[in-house]
């Protein structure tokens, strides 16, 4: 029945046009397959473990060796080098390629027996803060564990109720519960963000050539005829075709990439799908608007690349938005990905009810309106190309 509808005709034509374009095949098949799997493979180990460290034990006592054993038993540390002089400490980062150096001072054991406080010096290579933070955390944990054990040994002979030892040595116990990504897994952390930002880029870039490419290839008149001169049918027909492609790409992300890399989805799939449809629609309409306004497809592509490339940096995913200057905060708000990401994380990692993502949904709706306004602007600016030229061609 609907086979004769202009929207369906345009949709069919657009599906075929997109399938025939090398550029679209690159964007929707080749690039995602290569880039998504490459990005996932980078972090395939999930979390950083056994960071290589060096130890300079200037005491060589029973207690210093105990301290080293504690270091060795930490799941995050791997003692790979034992240094024999203080001079070797600085060059250890370059020569031995370690990320941290533990320096146990002379008389470490003796001083502890004499109740003279001792200080273990830890040098971390903080040119990479991922290692820096991990080493800081592990160093504190190990040192506190050894220090606590020494205190317990000293407390015991002084006469203490055994039930109160822990209350004295560690009066406040922090029970930490981590939501979202309790495994501290980098694949779970970064890959969903990276794949979805690329989803936005791909759809936006492809949509930014939806109309100007037809003008360049001189196929617009044909399209105009197919739609029976109805511009709404052209826009909707094209929109549905791009939506199918966008959902196909989302399928690749959530049905293939996520399971391959073992990324769990905690939230409701239907909610996630609804959010994706909204997000994809926003990008299609914004891309269409750009394509209708800017006749030169290469310039349109330039603008699309320029607008989308910093989306990940501005999304607040790796560096919080509140820590950015006001201008950058405004730019971050002007990118749909920022709002999608917040809603996406709420649904997929925290499994929040739908009501919690309304603020982001409203913002994405605003982008939809902006997209429609851009399309209308494009229709007005290029009315000659859109309405008059195809009519003249028909005549």
């Amino acid at each position: 029945m609907f086979k004769n509808w202009p929207i369906y005709q345009v949709f069919k034509k657009e599906m075929l046009r997109l399938a025939r374009q090398k550029s679209i095949r690159n964007l929707f098949v080749l690039i995602p397959l290569v880039v998504f799997f490459l990005l996932g493979s980078i972090y395939y180990k999930g979390s950083l473990r056994e960071v290589s460290v060096a130890v300079y034990d200037n005491d060589n006592s029973t207690l210093s060796r105990t301290y080293i054993r504690f270091l060795e038993s930490s799941p995050y540390l791997n003692v790979t080098h034992y240094l024999s002089s203080k001079d070797a400490i600085e060059s250890a980062f370059i020569k031995n390629e370690v990320q941290g150096v533990f320096y146990i001072p002379k008389d470490f054991h003796k001083d502890i027996l004499k109740s003279v406080p001792v200080q273990v010096k830890i040098y971390t290579n903080s040119t990479n803060i991922v290692f820096g933070n991990l080493l800081y955390k592990s160093a504190l944990e190990v040192t506190q564990a050894v220090s606590g054990a020494v205190v317990i040994k000293k407390i015991a002979p002084l006469g203490i109720n055994p039930a109160k030892i822990m209350g004295t040595v560690l009066p406040i116990k922090i029970n930490t519960r981590v939501l979202g990504n309790p495994q501290y897994n980098y694949v779970y952390y970064l890959l969903p963000g990276l794949t979805t930002v690329l989803l936005q880029m791909i759809i936006f870039l492809a949509a930014s050539r939806a109309f100007n490419n037809e003008w360049k290839a001189e196929t617009y008149s044909q399209l105009y005829t197919t739609s029976k001169g109805n511009i709404l049918s052209i826009i909707l027909g094209k929109y549905f075709a791009f939506l199918v492609y966008g959902l196909g790409l989302s399928g690749l992300i959530f049905a293939i990439v996520f399971p391959v890399f073992g990324i769990p989805i905690y939230g409701n799939i239907i909610h996630l799908l609804s959010l994706l449809v909204l997000f994809i629609s926003v990008n299609i309409l914004l891309g269409f608007g750009l394509s209708l306004i800017v006749k030169n497809e290469i310039i349109a592509l330039d603008i699309a690349i320029f607008y989308n490339s910093p989306a990940f940096v501005f999304s607040g995913f790796t560096f919080p938005i509140w820590a950015m200057p006001w201008f950058n905060i405004m730019y971050a708000q002007a990118i749909p990905y920022t709002h999608f990401l917040t809603a996406f994380l709420k649904i997929y990692q925290l499994d929040t009810p739908l009501s919690f993502i309304w603020p982001e949904v409203w913002k994405l709706m605003l982008f939809l309106i902006v997209g429609v306004l851009l399309i209308v602007t494009g229709l007005i600016i290029n009315r000659k190309h859109i309405f008059i030229t195809p009519k003249l061609a028909k005549v």
Binding site: P117, V118, P171, I202, L301
Partner: protein
């Protein structure tokens, strides 16, 4: 090498750039705008005032004192107070707060009785940076309490306060964040990000020019004009980009680095020379890859999507040795990888020259690979054109 031929090709390329608005945008507008936009994102270098919510069911002096201590830490700000955990969880779900500190009833009582008093800390780990900062701050405050309790115990046994203090904490860890003393995000990421901006805009601009040459059959004509000499052709074709991007590099080191308070502790001379070597290697690689594209649009699209994988595969955020072998191999073929290592050593670490020879040799090897690839590709295209010509004849 024929300088007049190179100069002719150089002028031709400059004219092409001048007349092509898209290339002009990529080469002249994008780098500066990105510097401003993306560089300034990290101007504060680190996060502060990470918002934390509290559920204080104890409502005692001790619980308030604990929370005040947490609030007084540099990176944490207690922004919300909830009456129950469910309410707090809503705040967490709305991302109003990044974590919850939950103090149960009887907290003070247990503390006074010298019993272990547990506190709940709930963190959202969707973003690592904030969750790490909260975790660190709360645990450090808990350690302060531990030291105080131990000291009090020793004092109660008749030990004088200063000696009791020493006994309370026999071993301390002094962590020195070498090279980046405040362990901040900006110093870690910004230098690499600035270089990536230059790298990507250069590749996009060059790819547009090369694919346009290929499409219009100008590539082999240019090669013929260079008297079929690869060196003449490459210097002529890429010379403009090399000079422009060397200027950008100088701008980066002498203006952008000081503006963002990024250090250059090593030899500035080595930095400039190796940067030029890196740019030239990148140009050869870029020319070779984009010579396979006949469409400007396709070349731009592909180049635009290389930013994330190229940046991440170089090991700037994740150790290369932790990647699968095939990625380690690919990583070593990318000029950015040795250049980033070199950059780190010269700028933030300031090491002696004998400690970065390896990276320079690595770049020279990549330059050689790039040259061979370009040479073979140009000869292949030349042969292809000859065959086509003879068929037409």
């Amino acid at each position: 090498m024929n300088l007049s031929v190179i100069w002719k090709l150089f002028k031709k390329e400059a004219e092409l750039v001048q007349n092509d608005h898209s290339v002009l945008l990529a080469l002249l507008v994008a780098p500066l705008l990105y510097f401003l936009l993306m560089g300034s994102t990290y101007i504060n270098k680190d996060e502060e005032q990470v918002s934390v919510g509290i559920v204080d069911l104890d409502q005692t002096k001790s619980s308030k004192a604990f929370l005040n201590k947490v609030n007084a830490t540099q990176k944490i700000a207690i922004t919300k107070t909830y009456t129950n955990f469910l309410e707090a969880k809503c705040g967490l779900n709305e991302f109003e707060i990044q974590g919850i500190i939950n103090i149960p009833n009887g907290f003070e009582k247990k503390l006074k009785k010298n019993e272990s008093s547990p506190i709940g800390l709930i963190l959202i780990n969707t973003k690592f940076l904030s969750s790490n900062d909260i975790n660190k701050a709360v645990n450090l405050v808990a350690i302060d309490y531990a030291l105080e309790a131990r000291q009090k115990f020793f004092e109660s046994k008749g030990i004088n306060p200063s000696f009791a203090k020493q006994k309370a904490n026999p071993i301390t860890a002094q962590v020195n964040a070498v090279y980046n003393p405040t362990n901040n995000y900006g110093n870690f990421l910004l230098p690499a990000l600035l270089i990536l901006i230059l790298h990507q805009t250069l590749l996009i601009g060059l790819s547009e020019s090369v694919s346009s040459d290929r499409k219009n059959g100008l590539m082999t004509i240019g090669f013929e004009e260079s008297k079929n000499n690869v060196i003449n052709y490459i210097f002529g074709k890429t010379g403009f980009y090399l000079i422009l991007y060397t200027a950008y590099m100088l701008l980066t080191y002498f203006v952008v680095f000081p503006f963002f308070d990024l250090p250059i502790k090593g030899s500035i001379f080595s930095l400039i020379i190796v940067s030029i070597l890196f740019l030239f290697t990148t140009l050869l690689y870029g020319w070779f890859v984009t010579s396979f594209f006949k469409s400007q649009v396709r070349a731009m699209e592909v180049m635009a999507f290389t930013s994330y994988p190229i940046f991440l595969i170089t090991g700037i955020t994740w150790s290369v040795s932790e990647m699968p072998l095939f990625l380690q191999f690919i990583s070593n073929l990318i000029p950015l990888k040795p250049f980033f290592t070199f950059l780190k050593k010269v700028t933030i670490m300031g090491v002696d020259s004998n400690l970065y020879y390896e990276e320079i040799i690595h770049l020279l090897i990549l330059l050689l690979i790039g040259y061979i690839a370009t040479f073979l590709r140009l000869n292949y295209l030349k042969k292809q054109r000859m065959t086509l010509k003879s068929v037409i004849k």
